[in-house]
Subunit: 258 residues, 2 copies
């Protein structure tokens, strides 16, 4: 493809539908590009500015891409900004193939002890990205995004996750598909909501466990609340309505660690 076609592709990939149809996503920013280079993902091409190539980290990244045979295109600052989804792309946009994960592939990796993090209509891409990062850091085998959740492959979500997308398997599905998989695998589903058992009172959490956190405003959906085996509650002092959803997930995964 020509450099112009690559630019057009990156612009198109700001749309979720385009990302899903092409199974491609865009990496923006120096650090995320470095994480991409260290991953096994296939990189289709990279747009960068002359200023980026003039920095030490920039040169190292471009050399890394070149060694992998990635198409490199130098574009103007204006063109790069026109194709970026995050506020400061830092001179680099790379297109990579979205890793394909399925319940079948996930099933083969699940041992006697497992944690799965479920996002139930988490709307903000930044929160979704931080949740992928949190799940990865706390050892989740997968992060599952239910319908209504921001696209985990949105550039803001990818960037917010600091490379975690390249390590932890992520899946999108409906609540029904999730529940079927968890039943087959005998993995109980717990949900975080204010009316639940205080998490500090939970002793001996199950060795296999999926934990669902809900929408920033509305909490868990009716479908998930019907399906959960247990509801647990996070600490909430002095009338604070709720924790940020990623902070809540971090505390819950820590408190319920096997």
């Amino acid at each position: 493809v020509t450099n112009d076609q690559l630019l057009t592709l990156v612009r198109d990939l700001r749309r979720r539908k385009a990302r899903e149809r092409r199974t491609l996503f865009v990496v923006e920013g120096v650090r995320t590009a470095e994480e991409l280079l260290q991953s096994a993902l296939s990189v289709r091409g990279a747009l960068s500015t002359a200023a980026f190539a003039a920095t030490e980290r920039g040169r190292a990244i471009l050399e890394g891409f070149a060694q992998r045979g990635t198409q490199l295109a130098e574009v103007s600052e204006t063109d790069l900004d026109s194709a970026a989804d995050t506020e400061q792309p830092q001179g680099i946009l790379a297109v990579a193939e979205t890793p394909r994960h399925s319940f079948e592939s996930l099933a083969t990796t699940i041992g006697s002890t497992v944690r799965v993090l479920v996002l139930d209509a988490v709307q903000d891409p930044g929160n979704a990205g931080t949740l992928v990062r949190t799940g990865a850091a706390l050892g989740a085998a997968a992060v599952i995004a239910l319908s209504g959740t921001a696209d985990l492959w949105n550039a803001k979500a990818v960037r917010g996750a600091a490379g975690a997308h390249f390590r932890v398997p992520t899946l999108q599905c409906s609540a029904e598909e999730l529940v079927r998989f968890l039943r087959e695998q005998r993995i109980p589903l717990w949900g975080a909501a204010p009316h639940g058992t205080p998490i500090a009172a939970v002793v001996d959490p199950p060795r296999r466990l999926a934990l669902a956190v809900g929408n920033e405003g509305a909490g868990l959906s009716a479908a998930v609340l019907r399906a959960v085996d247990r509801v647990i509650a996070l600490p909430m002092a002095g009338g604070v309505e709720s924790l940020n959803v990623a902070v809540a997930a971090g505390i819950a995964l820590y408190a319920l660690r096997p």
Copy 2:
């Protein structure tokens, strides 16, 4: 003041220096305005659009302000956006007096058990706001921002904290001032860093404790690392470099709860 003067004031308050000189800050967005109304803070004035006043929640907020004798000014969408610091001000900007807290006032509230959250050069205003919210939810008596930390009264930080600023005392000071206060109060200072003791191995945390979390990239500053009595480490599975700083603080405050 005239409506034009109020608009000029709000615009000026986007600058940290102006907020500090005037000890005023700006609340943006429907939910944060509702939280402000429920707080004891003094509200100087509010700018809103006709569209905001036409909504049920908007009308209730404006009536609440009116009952408190707050100056109300209706402005155009364009003027409101020109004065806003967050991306979607949702038709409402209110100016309130920054609560004044000091180590002297804090000292009078500290009992035999206390938690203090310390932000050591946390740069992102969104993270700073989420940290205030996290500290409040986990029962911290105060959130202290050391030099280099984003202004906690930045509109993005205030909005990200979901009203927590109106409940938990916050202070800004240097590392030296903090250390002096903690020594006087016999409150040990612990810091979160990768080389520390795994937090799950900590038994019986002290009843009085200040916990410091560091910059998103660089971690704790040299000044804080020199001053800490103990370093603790957060979980970090599968090569993930670090948790988001607010998630890290949430897990640490939970794990070290009295």
